[in-house]
Subunit: 326 residues, 2 copies
Protein backbone atom coordinates (compact mmCIF):
# COMPACT_ATOMS: atom_id res chain seq x y z
CA UNK A 1 0.00 0.00 0.00
CA UNK A 2 1.48 3.37 -1.03
CA UNK A 3 0.82 6.71 0.53
CA UNK A 4 -1.66 7.42 -2.23
CA UNK A 5 -3.66 4.40 -1.12
CA UNK A 6 -4.00 5.40 2.53
CA UNK A 7 -7.33 4.24 3.94
CA UNK A 8 -10.00 6.85 4.53
CA UNK A 9 -11.16 7.33 8.13
CA UNK A 10 -14.23 9.44 8.77
CA UNK A 11 -14.62 10.80 12.29
CA UNK A 12 -18.23 11.44 13.32
CA UNK A 13 -18.46 13.89 16.21
CA UNK A 14 -21.48 15.55 17.77
CA UNK A 15 -22.43 18.87 16.17
CA UNK A 16 -20.16 21.57 17.61
CA UNK A 17 -17.90 19.03 19.32
CA UNK A 18 -14.20 19.68 18.56
CA UNK A 19 -12.06 17.02 16.90
CA UNK A 20 -10.73 14.60 19.51
CA UNK A 21 -7.32 15.61 20.90
CA UNK A 22 -4.62 13.34 19.51
CA UNK A 23 -6.37 12.92 16.17
CA UNK A 24 -3.09 13.93 14.48
CA UNK A 25 -1.76 10.48 15.25
CA UNK A 26 -4.43 9.05 12.95
CA UNK A 27 -3.63 11.53 10.17
CA UNK A 28 -0.18 9.99 9.86
CA UNK A 29 -1.74 6.67 8.86
CA UNK A 30 -4.94 7.57 7.05
CA UNK A 31 -6.81 10.24 5.16
CA UNK A 32 -9.03 11.73 7.88
CA UNK A 33 -12.40 13.29 7.14
CA UNK A 34 -14.77 14.88 9.63
CA UNK A 35 -18.54 14.79 9.84
CA UNK A 36 -20.94 16.02 12.48
CA UNK A 37 -24.43 15.38 11.09
CA UNK A 38 -26.38 13.64 8.35
CA UNK A 39 -25.49 16.22 5.68
CA UNK A 40 -21.73 16.14 6.27
CA UNK A 41 -21.86 12.34 6.58
CA UNK A 42 -23.48 12.04 3.14
CA UNK A 43 -20.51 13.98 1.77
CA UNK A 44 -17.78 12.09 3.62
CA UNK A 45 -19.08 8.52 3.64
CA UNK A 46 -18.47 7.69 -0.07
CA UNK A 47 -15.04 6.07 -0.20
CA UNK A 48 -14.74 5.87 3.60
CA UNK A 49 -13.10 2.63 4.80
CA UNK A 50 -13.29 3.15 8.55
CA UNK A 51 -15.42 5.29 10.86
CA UNK A 52 -14.66 6.50 14.33
CA UNK A 53 -17.87 7.60 16.09
CA UNK A 54 -17.37 9.84 19.13
CA UNK A 55 -21.03 10.91 19.37
CA UNK A 56 -22.62 8.07 21.31
CA UNK A 57 -26.10 9.59 20.83
CA UNK A 58 -25.90 9.95 17.02
CA UNK A 59 -28.84 9.22 14.75
CA UNK A 60 -27.06 10.70 11.73
CA UNK A 61 -25.36 7.49 10.68
CA UNK A 62 -28.58 5.57 10.19
CA UNK A 63 -29.98 8.48 8.16
CA UNK A 64 -26.90 8.71 5.93
CA UNK A 65 -26.30 4.97 5.75
CA UNK A 66 -26.99 4.56 1.98
CA UNK A 67 -23.90 6.72 1.31
CA UNK A 68 -21.61 4.15 2.99
CA UNK A 69 -20.35 2.48 -0.18
CA UNK A 70 -16.99 1.13 0.98
CA UNK A 71 -17.26 0.94 4.77
CA UNK A 72 -15.64 -2.02 6.51
CA UNK A 73 -15.42 -1.07 10.15
CA UNK A 74 -16.97 1.35 12.64
CA UNK A 75 -15.27 2.05 15.96
CA UNK A 76 -17.30 3.68 18.74
CA UNK A 77 -15.28 5.62 21.32
CA UNK A 78 -17.81 4.64 23.97
CA UNK A 79 -18.70 1.49 25.84
CA UNK A 80 -22.36 1.68 24.79
CA UNK A 81 -23.09 1.22 21.09
CA UNK A 82 -26.88 1.42 21.24
CA UNK A 83 -26.98 4.34 18.78
CA UNK A 84 -25.31 2.14 16.15
CA UNK A 85 -27.58 -0.87 16.45
CA UNK A 86 -29.94 0.04 13.60
CA UNK A 87 -31.16 -2.70 11.25
CA UNK A 88 -29.18 -1.74 8.16
CA UNK A 89 -25.89 -1.80 10.06
CA UNK A 90 -26.77 -4.96 11.98
CA UNK A 91 -27.59 -6.70 8.70
CA UNK A 92 -24.42 -5.47 6.96
CA UNK A 93 -20.94 -6.99 6.97
CA UNK A 94 -19.51 -3.86 8.62
CA UNK A 95 -17.63 -4.70 11.80
CA UNK A 96 -18.35 -2.68 14.95
CA UNK A 97 -15.91 -2.27 17.84
CA UNK A 98 -16.22 -0.27 21.03
CA UNK A 99 -14.11 1.32 23.76
CA UNK A 100 -14.48 -1.63 26.11
CA UNK A 101 -12.05 -1.36 29.02
CA UNK A 102 -11.20 2.34 28.91
CA UNK A 103 -13.86 3.51 31.34
CA UNK A 104 -14.15 0.45 33.59
CA UNK A 105 -11.89 1.50 36.42
CA UNK A 106 -13.10 5.09 36.63
CA UNK A 107 -16.76 4.06 36.56
CA UNK A 108 -16.09 1.50 39.30
CA UNK A 109 -14.47 4.20 41.46
CA UNK A 110 -17.51 6.41 40.82
CA UNK A 111 -19.91 3.64 41.86
CA UNK A 112 -17.95 2.81 45.01
CA UNK A 113 -17.92 6.50 45.93
CA UNK A 114 -21.67 6.76 45.40
CA UNK A 115 -22.30 3.73 47.62
CA UNK A 116 -20.14 5.18 50.41
CA UNK A 117 -21.73 8.63 50.04
CA UNK A 118 -25.18 7.11 50.56
CA UNK A 119 -23.95 5.12 53.57
CA UNK A 120 -22.30 8.17 55.18
CA UNK A 121 -24.96 10.68 54.04
CA UNK A 122 -22.36 12.98 52.50
CA UNK A 123 -24.99 14.70 50.32
CA UNK A 124 -26.68 15.69 53.57
CA UNK A 125 -23.37 16.85 55.06
CA UNK A 126 -22.62 19.08 52.05
CA UNK A 127 -26.09 20.62 52.24
CA UNK A 128 -25.62 21.24 55.99
CA UNK A 129 -22.19 22.72 55.34
CA UNK A 130 -23.68 25.20 52.85
CA UNK A 131 -26.12 26.22 55.62
CA UNK A 132 -23.22 26.52 58.16
CA UNK A 133 -25.03 23.98 60.30
CA UNK A 134 -23.26 21.58 62.70
CA UNK A 135 -25.46 18.48 62.94
CA UNK A 136 -24.16 15.14 64.13
CA UNK A 137 -25.83 12.02 62.70
CA UNK A 138 -25.18 8.32 63.07
CA UNK A 139 -24.66 6.81 59.62
CA UNK A 140 -24.43 3.39 57.99
CA UNK A 141 -21.56 0.97 57.66
CA UNK A 142 -20.99 -0.18 54.09
CA UNK A 143 -19.22 -3.37 55.16
CA UNK A 144 -21.21 -6.51 54.48
CA UNK A 145 -23.80 -4.80 52.31
CA UNK A 146 -25.01 -6.65 49.22
CA UNK A 147 -24.48 -5.11 45.79
CA UNK A 148 -26.37 -6.45 42.78
CA UNK A 149 -24.61 -5.55 39.54
CA UNK A 150 -26.98 -5.84 36.58
CA UNK A 151 -24.74 -6.56 33.63
CA UNK A 152 -21.58 -8.57 34.25
CA UNK A 153 -19.50 -7.17 31.39
CA UNK A 154 -16.13 -5.51 31.85
CA UNK A 155 -17.57 -2.49 33.69
CA UNK A 156 -19.78 -4.58 35.96
CA UNK A 157 -16.87 -6.88 36.70
CA UNK A 158 -14.63 -4.00 37.75
CA UNK A 159 -17.39 -2.68 40.01
CA UNK A 160 -17.67 -6.12 41.62
CA UNK A 161 -13.92 -6.26 42.18
CA UNK A 162 -13.79 -2.91 43.95
CA UNK A 163 -16.78 -3.42 46.22
CA UNK A 164 -15.69 -6.96 47.13
CA UNK A 165 -12.18 -5.68 47.86
CA UNK A 166 -13.48 -3.57 50.74
CA UNK A 167 -15.86 -6.12 52.21
CA UNK A 168 -19.17 -5.65 50.42
CA UNK A 169 -20.70 -8.63 48.60
CA UNK A 170 -21.17 -8.37 44.84
CA UNK A 171 -23.69 -10.50 43.00
CA UNK A 172 -24.30 -10.21 39.27
CA UNK A 173 -27.14 -10.57 36.81
CA UNK A 174 -26.23 -11.78 33.32
CA UNK A 175 -27.39 -14.03 30.53
CA UNK A 176 -25.30 -16.95 31.73
CA UNK A 177 -25.56 -17.83 35.44
CA UNK A 178 -22.42 -19.15 37.13
CA UNK A 179 -21.12 -19.79 40.64
CA UNK A 180 -17.42 -20.01 39.80
CA UNK A 181 -16.91 -16.45 38.61
CA UNK A 182 -13.71 -15.00 40.14
CA UNK A 183 -15.20 -11.52 40.64
CA UNK A 184 -18.75 -12.18 41.80
CA UNK A 185 -20.07 -14.15 44.78
CA UNK A 186 -22.48 -15.50 42.17
CA UNK A 187 -23.79 -14.46 38.77
CA UNK A 188 -27.51 -15.11 38.47
CA UNK A 189 -29.44 -15.50 35.24
CA UNK A 190 -31.66 -12.75 33.88
CA UNK A 191 -34.74 -14.68 34.99
CA UNK A 192 -33.66 -14.30 38.63
CA UNK A 193 -33.59 -10.50 38.47
CA UNK A 194 -36.71 -9.83 40.53
CA UNK A 195 -35.80 -12.32 43.23
CA UNK A 196 -32.26 -10.94 43.52
CA UNK A 197 -33.50 -7.34 43.62
CA UNK A 198 -35.10 -8.25 46.94
CA UNK A 199 -31.73 -9.10 48.51
CA UNK A 200 -29.68 -6.08 47.42
CA UNK A 201 -28.77 -2.99 49.40
CA UNK A 202 -27.36 -1.38 46.27
CA UNK A 203 -28.48 -2.17 42.72
CA UNK A 204 -26.05 -1.01 40.04
CA UNK A 205 -27.06 -0.88 36.39
CA UNK A 206 -23.98 -1.64 34.30
CA UNK A 207 -25.80 -3.13 31.33
CA UNK A 208 -25.80 -2.02 27.71
CA UNK A 209 -28.95 -0.46 26.29
CA UNK A 210 -30.57 -3.14 24.15
CA UNK A 211 -34.19 -4.03 23.34
CA UNK A 212 -33.99 -6.40 26.33
CA UNK A 213 -32.81 -3.77 28.85
CA UNK A 214 -34.77 -0.74 27.65
CA UNK A 215 -37.25 0.13 30.39
CA UNK A 216 -36.16 -2.86 32.47
CA UNK A 217 -36.29 -0.80 35.66
CA UNK A 218 -39.98 -0.10 35.86
CA UNK A 219 -42.59 -0.16 38.61
CA UNK A 220 -42.27 -3.92 38.94
CA UNK A 221 -38.50 -3.76 39.45
CA UNK A 222 -38.74 -1.00 42.05
CA UNK A 223 -41.47 -2.87 43.89
CA UNK A 224 -39.11 -5.84 44.11
CA UNK A 225 -36.32 -3.79 45.75
CA UNK A 226 -35.88 -3.28 49.52
CA UNK A 227 -37.23 0.03 50.87
CA UNK A 228 -33.72 0.71 52.17
CA UNK A 229 -32.04 0.00 48.81
CA UNK A 230 -30.46 2.51 46.46
CA UNK A 231 -30.34 2.31 42.67
CA UNK A 232 -27.19 3.43 40.84
CA UNK A 233 -27.31 3.84 37.05
CA UNK A 234 -24.08 4.27 35.14
CA UNK A 235 -25.35 2.31 32.11
CA UNK A 236 -27.76 4.15 29.87
CA UNK A 237 -30.67 6.38 30.85
CA UNK A 238 -33.48 4.55 29.00
CA UNK A 239 -32.84 1.37 31.00
CA UNK A 240 -34.72 3.17 33.80
CA UNK A 241 -38.25 4.45 33.45
CA UNK A 242 -37.80 7.86 35.04
CA UNK A 243 -41.46 8.34 35.96
CA UNK A 244 -41.54 4.98 37.70
CA UNK A 245 -38.32 5.83 39.53
CA UNK A 246 -39.76 9.10 40.82
CA UNK A 247 -42.91 7.32 41.93
CA UNK A 248 -40.86 4.65 43.73
CA UNK A 249 -38.82 7.35 45.52
CA UNK A 250 -41.99 9.23 46.46
CA UNK A 251 -43.65 6.08 47.74
CA UNK A 252 -40.59 5.01 49.74
CA UNK A 253 -40.29 1.81 47.72
CA UNK A 254 -36.55 2.53 47.43
CA UNK A 255 -34.36 4.83 49.52
CA UNK A 256 -32.37 6.71 46.90
CA UNK A 257 -30.77 6.81 43.47
CA UNK A 258 -27.36 7.73 42.07
CA UNK A 259 -27.72 8.68 38.43
CA UNK A 260 -25.06 9.52 35.85
CA UNK A 261 -27.32 8.83 32.86
CA UNK A 262 -30.87 9.90 32.05
CA UNK A 263 -33.60 9.27 29.54
CA UNK A 264 -33.13 12.85 28.39
CA UNK A 265 -29.61 14.32 28.32
CA UNK A 266 -28.80 17.03 29.20
CA UNK A 267 -31.52 16.79 31.82
CA UNK A 268 -33.75 19.90 31.53
CA UNK A 269 -33.47 22.44 34.34
CA UNK A 270 -37.15 22.01 35.23
CA UNK A 271 -36.93 18.24 35.69
CA UNK A 272 -38.24 17.05 39.10
CA UNK A 273 -35.15 14.87 39.77
CA UNK A 274 -32.78 17.79 40.42
CA UNK A 275 -34.16 18.85 43.79
CA UNK A 276 -34.47 15.43 45.40
CA UNK A 277 -32.11 15.14 48.36
CA UNK A 278 -32.03 11.35 48.12
CA UNK A 279 -30.81 11.48 44.51
CA UNK A 280 -27.15 12.03 43.60
CA UNK A 281 -26.79 13.28 40.03
CA UNK A 282 -23.88 13.83 37.64
CA UNK A 283 -23.73 14.86 33.99
CA UNK A 284 -22.92 11.58 32.17
CA UNK A 285 -19.31 11.77 33.26
CA UNK A 286 -18.74 8.75 35.54
CA UNK A 287 -16.13 7.28 33.23
CA UNK A 288 -14.49 10.44 31.99
CA UNK A 289 -11.15 10.70 33.71
CA UNK A 290 -8.63 13.37 32.83
CA UNK A 291 -6.88 11.99 29.74
CA UNK A 292 -9.74 9.77 28.53
CA UNK A 293 -9.79 11.39 25.07
CA UNK A 294 -6.18 10.48 24.45
CA UNK A 295 -6.70 6.95 25.82
CA UNK A 296 -9.55 6.46 23.34
CA UNK A 297 -7.39 7.53 20.40
CA UNK A 298 -4.61 5.20 21.51
CA UNK A 299 -7.08 2.33 21.73
CA UNK A 300 -8.42 3.10 18.25
CA UNK A 301 -4.89 3.24 16.80
CA UNK A 302 -4.04 -0.14 18.29
CA UNK A 303 -7.08 -1.66 16.59
CA UNK A 304 -6.43 0.34 13.41
CA UNK A 305 -2.96 -1.18 13.14
CA UNK A 306 -4.49 -4.65 13.49
CA UNK A 307 -7.06 -3.89 10.83
CA UNK A 308 -4.38 -2.51 8.53
CA UNK A 309 -2.39 -5.71 8.86
CA UNK A 310 -5.47 -7.83 8.28
CA UNK A 311 -5.54 -9.13 11.86
CA UNK A 312 -8.64 -9.67 13.96
CA UNK A 313 -10.10 -6.59 15.63
CA UNK A 314 -10.46 -6.62 19.41
CA UNK A 315 -13.52 -5.31 21.30
CA UNK A 316 -15.72 -6.51 18.49
CA UNK A 317 -19.41 -5.95 19.16
CA UNK A 318 -21.78 -8.88 18.77
CA UNK A 319 -24.41 -7.10 16.67
CA UNK A 320 -27.09 -9.58 17.67
CA UNK A 321 -26.54 -8.95 21.37
CA UNK A 322 -25.63 -5.28 21.03
CA UNK A 323 -22.44 -5.32 23.06
CA UNK A 324 -18.83 -6.58 23.03
CA UNK A 325 -18.24 -9.94 24.69
CA UNK A 326 -15.23 -11.07 26.69
Amino acid sequence: MTTAQKPVVTVLTAPGEPAPPGIEAIKARAVVRFACDEQTLRETLPGTDVMMVTDFRTDALEAAWPAADNLKWIHATSAGVDALMFPALIDSDVAVTNARGIFDRTIAEYVLCTILMFAKDFPGSIRLQMKREWKHRDTERAEGKQVLVVGAGSIGRQIARLVNAIGLHAHGIARTPRHDDPDFIAVHGNEELYEQLGHADYVVIAAPLTPQTEGLFDARAFAAMKPSARLINIGRGPIVKTEALIQALDAGEIAGAGLDVFEEEPLPADHPLWQRENVIMTAHMAGDFIGWNRALIDQFLENFDRWHKGEDLFNRVNKTLGYAGA
Copy 2:
Protein backbone atom coordinates in the same frame (compact mmCIF):
# COMPACT_ATOMS: atom_id res chain seq x y z
CA MET B 1 -18.17 -10.90 96.46
CA THR B 2 -21.82 -10.59 97.52
CA THR B 3 -24.48 -8.41 95.95
CA ALA B 4 -23.89 -5.88 98.67
CA GLN B 5 -20.30 -5.58 97.56
CA LYS B 6 -21.04 -4.73 93.93
CA PRO B 7 -18.40 -2.39 92.54
CA VAL B 8 -19.37 1.23 91.93
CA VAL B 9 -19.23 2.48 88.36
CA THR B 10 -19.59 6.20 87.70
CA VAL B 11 -20.59 7.19 84.19
CA LEU B 12 -19.40 10.67 83.16
CA THR B 13 -21.43 12.07 80.27
CA ALA B 14 -21.40 15.51 78.72
CA PRO B 15 -23.87 17.95 80.32
CA GLY B 16 -27.32 17.28 78.87
CA GLU B 17 -26.21 14.06 77.17
CA PRO B 18 -28.57 11.17 77.90
CA ALA B 19 -27.30 8.00 79.56
CA PRO B 20 -25.81 5.65 76.96
CA PRO B 21 -28.34 3.16 75.58
CA GLY B 22 -27.66 -0.28 76.95
CA ILE B 23 -26.45 1.02 80.32
CA GLU B 24 -28.94 -1.34 82.00
CA ALA B 25 -26.58 -4.19 81.23
CA ILE B 26 -24.01 -2.57 83.53
CA LYS B 27 -26.57 -2.06 86.28
CA ALA B 28 -26.91 -5.83 86.58
CA ARG B 29 -23.25 -6.08 87.57
CA ALA B 30 -22.48 -2.85 89.43
CA VAL B 31 -23.90 0.09 91.32
CA VAL B 32 -24.10 2.75 88.61
CA ARG B 33 -23.83 6.46 89.35
CA PHE B 34 -24.08 9.31 86.86
CA ALA B 35 -22.16 12.56 86.65
CA CYS B 36 -22.08 15.26 84.02
CA ASP B 37 -19.82 17.99 85.42
CA GLU B 38 -17.35 18.83 88.16
CA GLN B 39 -20.04 19.31 90.83
CA THR B 40 -21.80 15.98 90.24
CA LEU B 41 -18.42 14.26 89.92
CA ARG B 42 -17.35 15.52 93.34
CA GLU B 43 -20.48 13.87 94.72
CA THR B 44 -20.18 10.57 92.88
CA LEU B 45 -16.42 9.97 92.85
CA PRO B 46 -15.97 9.04 96.55
CA GLY B 47 -16.20 5.26 96.67
CA THR B 48 -16.21 4.88 92.88
CA ASP B 49 -14.18 1.89 91.66
CA VAL B 50 -14.54 2.31 87.92
CA MET B 51 -15.37 5.21 85.63
CA MET B 52 -16.82 5.14 82.16
CA VAL B 53 -16.23 8.48 80.39
CA THR B 54 -18.42 9.13 77.36
CA ASP B 55 -17.58 12.86 77.12
CA PHE B 56 -14.32 12.87 75.16
CA ARG B 57 -13.96 16.65 75.66
CA THR B 58 -14.35 16.63 79.46
CA ASP B 59 -12.30 18.84 81.74
CA ALA B 60 -14.46 18.02 84.75
CA LEU B 61 -12.49 14.97 85.82
CA GLU B 62 -9.24 16.86 86.30
CA ALA B 63 -11.11 19.48 88.33
CA ALA B 64 -12.79 16.89 90.56
CA TRP B 65 -9.80 14.55 90.74
CA PRO B 66 -9.10 14.95 94.50
CA ALA B 67 -12.49 13.31 95.19
CA ALA B 68 -11.37 10.06 93.51
CA ASP B 69 -10.51 8.14 96.66
CA ASN B 70 -10.97 4.54 95.51
CA LEU B 71 -10.67 4.69 91.70
CA LYS B 72 -8.88 1.83 89.98
CA TRP B 73 -9.82 2.11 86.34
CA ILE B 74 -11.19 4.64 83.83
CA HIS B 75 -12.63 3.51 80.52
CA ALA B 76 -13.07 6.08 77.74
CA THR B 77 -15.76 5.25 75.16
CA SER B 78 -13.67 7.00 72.51
CA ALA B 79 -10.49 6.26 70.64
CA GLY B 80 -8.86 9.53 71.69
CA VAL B 81 -8.11 9.94 75.40
CA ASP B 82 -6.45 13.36 75.23
CA ALA B 83 -8.95 14.86 77.70
CA LEU B 84 -7.83 12.32 80.32
CA MET B 85 -4.10 12.84 80.03
CA PHE B 86 -3.74 15.34 82.86
CA PRO B 87 -0.75 15.07 85.23
CA ALA B 88 -2.54 13.80 88.34
CA LEU B 89 -4.09 10.90 86.42
CA ILE B 90 -0.90 10.15 84.50
CA ASP B 91 1.03 10.00 87.76
CA SER B 92 -1.57 7.84 89.50
CA ASP B 93 -1.95 4.06 89.49
CA VAL B 94 -5.38 4.33 87.86
CA ALA B 95 -5.56 2.28 84.66
CA VAL B 96 -6.99 3.90 81.52
CA THR B 97 -8.55 1.99 78.62
CA ASN B 98 -10.16 3.23 75.44
CA ALA B 99 -12.57 2.15 72.70
CA ARG B 100 -9.81 1.03 70.34
CA GLY B 101 -11.24 -0.93 67.43
CA ILE B 102 -14.89 0.10 67.56
CA PHE B 103 -14.62 2.99 65.14
CA ASP B 104 -11.80 1.75 62.87
CA ARG B 105 -13.82 0.30 60.04
CA THR B 106 -16.37 3.10 59.84
CA ILE B 107 -13.70 5.80 59.92
CA ALA B 108 -11.79 4.00 57.17
CA GLU B 109 -14.93 3.89 55.02
CA TYR B 110 -15.40 7.61 55.67
CA VAL B 111 -11.81 8.38 54.63
CA LEU B 112 -12.05 6.28 51.46
CA CYS B 113 -15.29 8.04 50.56
CA THR B 114 -13.70 11.45 51.09
CA ILE B 115 -10.75 10.53 48.86
CA LEU B 116 -13.07 9.35 46.08
CA MET B 117 -15.32 12.41 46.46
CA PHE B 118 -12.32 14.70 45.95
CA ALA B 119 -11.18 12.67 42.92
CA LYS B 120 -14.63 12.71 41.31
CA ASP B 121 -15.56 16.24 42.47
CA PHE B 122 -18.81 15.08 44.01
CA PRO B 123 -19.05 18.21 46.20
CA GLY B 124 -19.09 20.18 42.94
CA SER B 125 -21.71 17.85 41.46
CA ILE B 126 -24.01 18.25 44.47
CA ARG B 127 -23.71 22.05 44.30
CA LEU B 128 -24.47 21.94 40.55
CA GLN B 129 -27.43 19.65 41.20
CA MET B 130 -28.86 22.15 43.71
CA LYS B 131 -28.60 24.80 40.95
CA ARG B 132 -30.24 22.42 38.43
CA GLU B 133 -27.17 22.77 36.25
CA TRP B 134 -25.92 20.06 33.86
CA LYS B 135 -22.16 20.48 33.59
CA HIS B 136 -19.85 17.73 32.39
CA ARG B 137 -16.31 17.68 33.79
CA ASP B 138 -13.38 15.33 33.43
CA THR B 139 -12.31 14.14 36.87
CA GLU B 140 -9.44 12.27 38.49
CA ARG B 141 -8.72 8.59 38.81
CA ALA B 142 -7.98 7.52 42.38
CA GLU B 143 -6.04 4.41 41.30
CA GLY B 144 -2.33 4.65 41.97
CA LYS B 145 -2.58 7.73 44.16
CA GLN B 146 -0.37 7.88 47.23
CA VAL B 147 -1.96 8.15 50.67
CA LEU B 148 0.13 9.14 53.68
CA VAL B 149 -1.51 8.02 56.92
CA VAL B 150 -0.09 9.97 59.87
CA GLY B 151 -0.51 7.64 62.82
CA ALA B 152 -0.31 3.90 62.20
CA GLY B 153 -2.52 2.74 65.04
CA SER B 154 -5.61 0.61 64.60
CA ILE B 155 -7.56 3.34 62.79
CA GLY B 156 -4.67 4.25 60.48
CA ARG B 157 -4.07 0.59 59.74
CA GLN B 158 -7.68 0.03 58.70
CA ILE B 159 -7.51 3.10 56.44
CA ALA B 160 -4.36 1.69 54.83
CA ARG B 161 -6.05 -1.66 54.25
CA LEU B 162 -9.05 -0.15 52.51
CA VAL B 163 -7.17 2.23 50.23
CA ASN B 164 -4.60 -0.43 49.29
CA ALA B 165 -7.41 -2.89 48.57
CA ILE B 166 -8.64 -0.72 45.72
CA GLY B 167 -5.26 0.15 44.23
CA LEU B 168 -4.06 3.25 46.03
CA HIS B 169 -0.72 3.16 47.85
CA ALA B 170 -0.72 3.68 51.61
CA HIS B 171 2.39 4.83 53.46
CA GLY B 172 2.43 5.49 57.17
CA ILE B 173 4.14 7.80 59.64
CA ALA B 174 4.77 6.40 63.13
CA ARG B 175 7.31 6.30 65.91
CA THR B 176 8.86 3.07 64.71
CA PRO B 177 9.73 2.88 60.98
CA ARG B 178 9.35 -0.49 59.29
CA HIS B 179 9.27 -1.91 55.78
CA ASP B 180 7.68 -5.26 56.58
CA ASP B 181 4.31 -4.00 57.79
CA PRO B 182 1.50 -6.10 56.29
CA ASP B 183 -0.82 -3.11 55.80
CA PHE B 184 1.47 -0.31 54.64
CA ILE B 185 3.82 -0.09 51.66
CA ALA B 186 6.16 1.37 54.26
CA VAL B 187 5.89 2.99 57.66
CA HIS B 188 8.28 5.93 57.96
CA GLY B 189 9.57 7.42 61.19
CA ASN B 190 8.25 10.69 62.58
CA GLU B 191 11.44 12.43 61.46
CA GLU B 192 10.57 11.70 57.82
CA LEU B 193 7.20 13.47 57.99
CA TYR B 194 8.11 16.53 55.94
CA GLU B 195 9.83 14.54 53.21
CA GLN B 196 6.92 12.10 52.95
CA LEU B 197 4.37 14.93 52.85
CA GLY B 198 5.93 15.91 49.53
CA HIS B 199 5.02 12.57 47.94
CA ALA B 200 1.41 12.23 49.05
CA ASP B 201 -1.76 12.94 47.07
CA TYR B 202 -3.83 12.47 50.22
CA VAL B 203 -2.59 13.07 53.76
CA VAL B 204 -4.77 11.48 56.44
CA ILE B 205 -4.38 12.43 60.10
CA ALA B 206 -5.21 9.35 62.18
CA ALA B 207 -3.01 10.21 65.14
CA PRO B 208 -3.96 10.75 68.77
CA LEU B 209 -3.78 14.25 70.20
CA THR B 210 -0.65 14.37 72.33
CA PRO B 211 1.88 17.08 73.14
CA GLN B 212 3.85 15.76 70.14
CA THR B 213 0.97 16.02 67.62
CA GLU B 214 -0.73 19.21 68.85
CA GLY B 215 -0.30 21.82 66.11
CA LEU B 216 1.78 19.41 64.01
CA PHE B 217 0.01 20.53 60.84
CA ASP B 218 1.20 24.10 60.64
CA ALA B 219 2.52 26.36 57.88
CA ARG B 220 5.65 24.26 57.54
CA ALA B 221 3.69 21.05 57.04
CA PHE B 222 1.37 22.57 54.44
CA ALA B 223 4.33 24.08 52.58
CA ALA B 224 5.78 20.57 52.36
CA MET B 225 2.64 19.14 50.73
CA LYS B 226 1.96 19.02 46.98
CA PRO B 227 -0.29 21.81 45.64
CA SER B 228 -2.58 19.06 44.33
CA ALA B 229 -2.77 17.26 47.68
CA ARG B 230 -5.73 17.09 50.04
CA LEU B 231 -5.61 16.87 53.84
CA ILE B 232 -8.11 14.65 55.65
CA ASN B 233 -8.40 14.94 59.44
CA ILE B 234 -10.34 12.31 61.35
CA GLY B 235 -7.99 12.45 64.38
CA ARG B 236 -8.43 15.46 66.63
CA GLY B 237 -8.96 19.09 65.66
CA PRO B 238 -6.00 20.65 67.52
CA ILE B 239 -3.53 18.56 65.49
CA VAL B 240 -4.21 21.07 62.69
CA LYS B 241 -3.61 24.80 63.07
CA THR B 242 -6.81 26.03 61.49
CA GLU B 243 -5.46 29.47 60.59
CA ALA B 244 -2.48 27.93 58.82
CA LEU B 245 -4.81 25.53 56.99
CA ILE B 246 -6.96 28.38 55.72
CA GLN B 247 -3.88 30.29 54.59
CA ALA B 248 -2.55 27.19 52.79
CA LEU B 249 -5.90 26.72 51.01
CA ASP B 250 -6.01 30.41 50.07
CA ALA B 251 -2.43 30.33 48.77
CA GLY B 252 -3.01 27.14 46.78
CA GLU B 253 -0.35 25.32 48.78
CA ILE B 254 -2.79 22.42 49.07
CA ALA B 255 -5.87 21.61 46.99
CA GLY B 256 -8.47 20.80 49.62
CA ALA B 257 -9.34 19.45 53.04
CA GLY B 258 -11.78 16.89 54.42
CA LEU B 259 -12.44 17.64 58.08
CA ASP B 260 -14.44 15.72 60.64
CA VAL B 261 -12.74 17.35 63.65
CA PHE B 262 -11.97 20.97 64.48
CA GLU B 263 -10.09 23.05 67.00
CA GLU B 264 -13.46 24.39 68.14
CA GLU B 265 -16.45 22.00 68.23
CA PRO B 266 -19.21 22.61 67.33
CA LEU B 267 -17.67 24.89 64.72
CA PRO B 268 -19.31 28.34 65.02
CA ALA B 269 -21.67 29.33 62.21
CA ASP B 270 -19.52 32.34 61.33
CA HIS B 271 -16.33 30.32 60.85
CA PRO B 272 -14.66 30.90 57.45
CA LEU B 273 -14.26 27.15 56.78
CA TRP B 274 -17.96 26.50 56.13
CA GLN B 275 -18.24 28.21 52.76
CA ARG B 276 -15.09 26.84 51.14
CA GLU B 277 -15.99 24.65 48.18
CA ASN B 278 -12.71 22.72 48.41
CA VAL B 279 -13.41 21.74 52.03
CA ILE B 280 -15.66 18.78 52.92
CA MET B 281 -16.91 19.06 56.49
CA THR B 282 -18.79 16.79 58.88
CA ALA B 283 -19.77 17.13 62.54
CA HIS B 284 -17.30 14.82 64.34
CA MET B 285 -19.21 11.76 63.24
CA ALA B 286 -16.84 9.82 60.96
CA GLY B 287 -16.82 6.82 63.25
CA ASP B 288 -20.37 6.93 64.51
CA PHE B 289 -22.22 4.14 62.80
CA ILE B 290 -25.79 3.23 63.67
CA GLY B 291 -25.43 1.01 66.74
CA TRP B 292 -22.10 2.44 67.97
CA ASN B 293 -23.47 3.25 71.43
CA ARG B 294 -24.43 -0.34 72.04
CA ALA B 295 -21.10 -1.58 70.66
CA LEU B 296 -19.29 0.66 73.14
CA ILE B 297 -21.27 -0.71 76.09
CA ASP B 298 -20.58 -4.27 74.97
CA GLN B 299 -16.87 -3.50 74.75
CA PHE B 300 -16.89 -1.97 78.23
CA LEU B 301 -18.71 -4.97 79.67
CA GLU B 302 -16.17 -7.35 78.18
CA ASN B 303 -13.38 -5.45 79.88
CA PHE B 304 -15.44 -5.06 83.06
CA ASP B 305 -15.79 -8.82 83.32
CA ARG B 306 -12.02 -9.17 82.98
CA TRP B 307 -11.44 -6.56 85.64
CA HIS B 308 -13.94 -8.23 87.95
CA LYS B 309 -12.09 -11.53 87.59
CA GLY B 310 -8.74 -9.87 88.18
CA GLU B 311 -7.58 -10.43 84.60
CA ASP B 312 -5.60 -7.98 82.48
CA LEU B 313 -7.58 -5.21 80.83
CA PHE B 314 -7.40 -4.91 77.05
CA ASN B 315 -7.05 -1.58 75.16
CA ARG B 316 -4.93 -0.26 77.98
CA VAL B 317 -3.64 3.25 77.30
CA ASN B 318 0.07 3.90 77.70
CA LYS B 319 -0.20 7.04 79.80
CA THR B 320 3.29 8.18 78.80
CA LEU B 321 2.48 8.02 75.08
CA GLY B 322 -1.17 9.01 75.42
CA TYR B 323 -2.70 6.19 73.38
CA ALA B 324 -3.37 2.45 73.42
CA GLY B 325 -0.74 0.29 71.73
CA ALA B 326 -1.19 -2.89 69.72
